[in-house]
């Protein structure tokens, strides 16, 4: 009788030791107070923000770059004139703005003094 009880106790302990972690891992989140180790790791993963990185400021017209540039005296001659409405008139319609931020600390400028710019 003692042997049977010991065997029963051992098998129960073994089942609990092996079965509980497996059962815990397969549980779906939010169904109770207990939380599996997998869920604990998933918490951090879910909180990571989704970051979308833009390639550059002129991605919408990058296809023009490959077509050549008649302006250049070199071999690259892309067709860049289509998307230049804001630049082409330069000072005519869009005078150069005053620099909004401090200039870079390159040793040429006094710290924090942005250039004042005017186009006539």
């Amino acid at each position: 009788m003692t042997k049977t009880l010991a065997l029963l106790f051992a098998s129960t302990a073994l089942a609990a030791g092996v079965g509980l972690p497996a059962w815990s891992a397969t549980r779906t989140p939010g169904d109770g107070a207990s939380q599996s180790a997998v869920e604990l790791f998933d918490v951090g993963r879910e909180r990571a923000p989704l970051v979308l990185v833009s390639d550059d400021d002129d991605h919408e017209d990058d296809d023009d770059e490959d077509r050549g540039d008649r302006r250049s005296s070199q071999t690259d001659d892309d067709d860049e004139e289509e998307d230049d409405a804001d630049d082409d008139q330069g000072g005519a319609r869009h005078p150069a703005p005053i620099a909004p931020t401090a200039p870079p600390q390159n040793g040429l400028f006094v710290k924090g003094a942005p250039p004042q710019v005017q186009v006539n």
Binding site: R71, D84, G91, A99, V110
Partner: protein, 156 residues
């Protein structure tokens, strides 16, 4: 009393180098009537050895065209860190760009040279359009450009 005066002199000598190390300089670039779109300009400085020292201003907002400012782009790669806060719109033909900035005194009469690279869409690039030594004597004297810039003057 003497130790106090000595300490005062020492602190003054340490503090003074940080004061009055710059002067206001106005750069005026008048463009020719070259009959094209707005010009991209890079205004930058090289040291006495001819090495790139830094950028003062870039006219033209689209970074993909910066490679046409050939010499400047070769030195900087058009890196945003070089030009953050010192860019504006391109300058139209026949117009005048005037920039006032506080330039470090150490650049004046010390062998530094002011350069302008220029580029216009569908027209030839003009690297080193202007190269003018930064000197007291050169202040107020217009320097002619090669292609797009009629003259560049710096006043201090």
């Amino acid at each position: 009393m003497k130790p106090v005066l000595a300490a005062l002199a020492l602190t003054a000598s340490l503090a003074l180098p940080g004061v009055a190390t710059a002067r206001p300089v106005t750069l005026t670039a008048a463009l020719n009537n070259y009959g094209g779109d707005g010009a991209y300009l890079a205004i930058y400085v090289t040291d006495p050895k001819g090495a790139y020292a830094g950028t003062l201003w870039v006219s033209g907002g689209k970074s993909k065209y910066y490679r046409h400012l050939t010499d400047w782009h070769r030195a900087t790669g058009g890196a945003p860190a070089e030009i953050n806060g010192i860019t504006g719109a391109s300058v139209g033909a026949g117009r005048t760009l005037k920039i006032t900035l506080d330039l470090a005194d150490a650049l004046i009469d010390a062998g530094y040279t002011l350069h302008v690279d220029a580029a216009v869409e569908n027209m030839r690039d003009s690297p080193n359009e202007i190269a003018a030594p930064l000197t007291i004597d050169g202040a107020g004297k217009p320097v002619r450009g090669r292609r797009y810039v009629a003259s560049l003057t710096y006043d201090m």
